[in-house]
């Protein structure tokens, strides 16, 4: 018997209409755990590097994490992986909710989709019974509406449904996959789903997920539950309320929280307005925010990209690069304009067709100076609308090198800014059991808001690399286990950390693993992802945060940071993993392939 994982994937070829249940190789679990790591392995092995996002050969993988479906609190993530139409690199977007556990209960670790269906279809996975069903009656329906329709027609209120809206059907480059109250939004995974002619995947499962050492595993879970209660009762002092507790910051959980209202930029990421609302693009109020967010969710678009794309279009109009003729019939008021634009984009009508490719590609197509207004993308993808003052070396590295291309899925654990007083720092490190090494406490103790030991030169280059490495490692582990970052890699002092994870994994799977082995797996997954993107042409030149992300930039320091980070990772100075590194991680097949393609030279590392 396999523990924690099921040991079977569902392989669907929509071109041929075939459905296969395929046993997976258990040795891969030891090498990659599951989730993101397993997806990366599949993408490397099975999708040739020149495959276009909208190609029959591109795979769309819905993976559960290794711990999903067990009693481990918070193990719920679905990891969606494919090649992104927008960045043209590997996309891995994730969602919470109950879809992944349900898939495990149905008897599968992953659903791997190839090909394209000539007609719109949806997939119905009901334990052993799997059907490709007609979805023509769902064409044009909202993502949430679709889920409701499917549950009703299947008479299965407990089915979990992932679905796309109009944006996905029309291959909008920033289309999302919506599910429950969560969504896999980033990098256009919804567009690939639409390209495959797949409207939704509904799942119902009533089988067991087994663990190897039940009593031990349950003790660990109980410990986490107790820690959560205790931690929630003790918010971290001296930081904004939103980051003081556990979980991902929910904007509406604390209605007076400053974090989102005071930090983010409005419009096309231009100005900062300290008011209580989240409708940053339209400069409007909360009521408008809810109304347009609801429509955008039904259409299925990414909440970072979509508002910025629309604001970008309006900036071009104001600048005279686009004209009124490009916006026929657009209302005059700000709110009306945003609704109008959203409707055009998801239908790919007129200017909407250009904008539907996202800011980077739209700017290229429009030309005439439009590219100067593309000021908030990295690797061709819209970032969080944030612009800051002083360069923070840790964040510089995370923005530049993050393969997720989304800062919130890279950062965490280490405070975002220094505590003002030594006493506060001493207090903070007292119960900081989460650090992988005592030196991290010293980094924090010495970090000052002002003076010699402050940003951008402190944390030092070396310390910055260490901090990034730790944060990244935790995210890579979470993404392989399917753990919610809100209980692990994202908040300060979380219940899961590098010291208790090995015990969880061992008790759940029966595969004995220690801290250094777990670190090695995280590194293997991280490096494989890098190799996939390198094979598709990504290089150092692409690792560039937006020009004005910080007002104060330090080119020399930034170059040093990147050099040191690459070196620590075992990559060459162009961000390409060296032969020696790949060998150490058991990835010789990767270096052979990269060598054949001339990406790494013979004499190299």
């Amino acid at each position: 018997m396999r523990y924690a994982e099921i040991g079977f994937d569902l392989e669907i070829d929509l071109s041929r209409g075939s459905i296969d249940r395929v046993e997976t190789d258990p040795t891969l679990t030891k090498l990659h755990l599951g989730g993101l790591g397993a997806n990366a392995k599949i993408l490397w092995d099975r999708v040739p590097p020149d495959t276009e996002a909208f190609s029959e050969d591109n795979l769309l993988i819905f993976s559960t994490g290794l711990l999903c479906g067990t009693a481990a609190p918070g193990a719920n993530r679905t990891i969606v992986t494919t090649y992104s139409p927008q960045t043209r690199l590997m996309a891995y977007s994730m969602m919470g909710g109950f879809w992944a556990p349900e898939l495990k209960y149905a008897g599968y670790d992953k659903v791997i989709i190839r090909g394209k269906s000539p007609d719109l279809v949806y997939l119905w996975i009901n334990n052993d019974k799997v059907e490709i069903r007609d979805a023509s009656h769902l064409r044009g329906k909202g993502a949430i509406e679709t889920a409701e329709c499917i549950r009703a027609e299947l008479k299965e209120p407990n089915a979990q449904v992932s679905a796309i809206g109009l944006a996905g059907e029309n291959r909008v480059f920033f289309a999302s996959i919506e599910q429950g109250r969560s969504s896999a939004s980033r990098l256009g995974v919804g567009a690939v789903m639409g390209d495959k002619g797949l409207k939704a995947i509904a799942v119902r499962g009533t089988k067991d997920v087994n663990v190897a050492r039940p009593a031990e595993f349950m003790d660990l879970c109980t410990g986490v539950m107790a820690y959560i209660k205790d931690r929630e009762a003790k918010p971290v002092p001296g930081v904004m309320p939103i980051v003081a507790g556990l979980g991902s910051p929910q904007e509406m959980k604390l209605v007076d929280e400053e974090w989102h209202t005071a930090n983010f930029m409005w419009g096309n990421s231009r100005t900062r307005r300290k008011e209580l609302t989240y409708t940053m693009a339209a400069y409007s109020d909360l009521d408008f925010g809810f109304r347009i967010a609801q429509r955008a969710t039904e259409y299925g678009v990414d909440g970072f990209s979509a508002p910025q794309v629309m604001a970008f279009a309006l900036e071009l109009l104001e600048a005279g690069i686009l004209t009124d003729a490009d916006f026929p019939g657009m209302p005059a008021d700000s709110e009306g304009r945003f609704f109008w634009l959203l409707d055009r984009i998801v239908r790919r009508e007129g200017i909407g067709d250009v904008l539907a490719d996202g800011v980077y590609w739209a700017a290229k197509r429009i030309g005439n100076g439009a590219e100067a207004y593309d000021h908030n993308t990295i690797k061709k993808h819209e970032q969080l609308p944030l612009k800051l003052g002083m360069l923070n070396p840790v964040y510089y590295l995370m923005y530049a090198t993050g393969e997720k291309i989304n800062i919130t899925q890279i950062e965490g654990q280490f405070p975002q800014s220094p505590f003002p007083t030594r006493e506060e720092r001493e207090e903070f490190v007292k119960d900081w059991i989460h650090v992988p090494d005592e030196k991290f406490k010293q980094y924090l103790l010495d970090w000052e808001p002002r003076g010699e030991k402050s940003n951008p030169y402190y944390p030092t280059v070396e310390a910055s690399c260490d901090i990034v490495d730790w944060q990244e490692k935790m995210h890579y582990i979470d993404d392989a286990l399917g753990m919610c970052a809100g209980l692990s890699s994202f908040p300060l002092k979380p219940p899961y950390h590098i010291h208790n994870y090995p015990a969880f994994i061992s008790a759940a799977t029966g595969i004995d693993i220690d801290e250094s082995e777990l670190g090695q797996i995280a590194k293997r997954n991280r490096t494989l992802l890098r190799a996939i993107n390198v094979r598709r042409g990504m290089r150092r030149a692409d690792e560039k945060p937006p020009e004005d992300h910080w007002k104060r930039r330090f080119p020399e320091l930034e170059a040093k940071l990147l050099d040191a980070y690459y070196e620590m990772k075992g990559w060459n100075n162009d961000g390409i993993p060296t032969k020696a590194t790949l060998h150490e991680l058991g990835l010789d097949y990767v270096s052979e392939d990269l060598e054949q393609r001339g990406v790494i030279g013979n004499g190299q590392g």
Partner: protein, 179 residues
């Protein structure tokens, strides 16, 4: 019939505090797995959440008695603007729905307050509800002397009889006992 003192275990369900996290479902199914905690599967849980996030409905319901036939009339309730079916509040393992039945055998499930041997002092679902939506209470009551409550096997057999008829069940038991 004489009166005796009895400890009544009960759980106060503060539905207003439930956020639909389903931790209670998960841990209940793990508790009743054989061996204990060896698997999880919410479909086997003896507490289920009626969960409709879009309508802001999160309602924990415990598995109660087995019933052979569904009700004829089923009313609908509107509470604070939210509409519920009568079944949403009902604890029955009932032919009208899949709830509270073993997924493989279809045998009825019933909350036993975690008294399955070795028994726990307190219900596990209560301990795992970090939102305090489930609160455990004990009280003493005078009750009529022992009408013995039917055990799991008895309820199971009764449901089999309802489903297949007495003769078929007897035949099957006779066959099985010869094996």
């Amino acid at each position: 019939m004489g009166k005796v003192k009895k400890t009544i275990k009960s759980i106060k369900i503060v539905a207003d505090k439930c956020n639909g996290c389903r931790a209670c479902e998960l841990v209940c199914s793990a508790f009743h797995a054989k061996p204990r905690y060896s698997s999880s599967n919410p479909a086997r849980s003896r507490i289920r959440i009626v969960r409709e996030p879009l309508r802001d409905i999160y309602l924990p319901v415990y598995a109660g008695e087995y019933t052979a036939s569904e009700c004829t009339g089923r009313d609908r309730y509107i509470i604070d603007g939210k509409e519920y079916s009568e079944c949403d509040f009902c604890r029955a393992s009932c032919p009208s729905r899949n709830l509270f039945k073993e997924p493989d055998s279809g045998l009825p499930l019933k909350c036993d307050m975690c008294e399955d041997e070795p028994a726990r002092e307190k219900p596990l679902c209560v301990e795992w509800c970090i939102n305090d939506a489930l609160l455990y209470e004990e009280r003493e009551e005078e009750v009529d002397e022992a009408v013995v409550a039917p055990g799991d096997i008895e309820i199971g057999v009764e449901s089999l009889i309802d489903k297949f008829g007495l003769q078929q069940v007897l035949d099957t038991i006779a066959r099985a006992s010869k094996r």
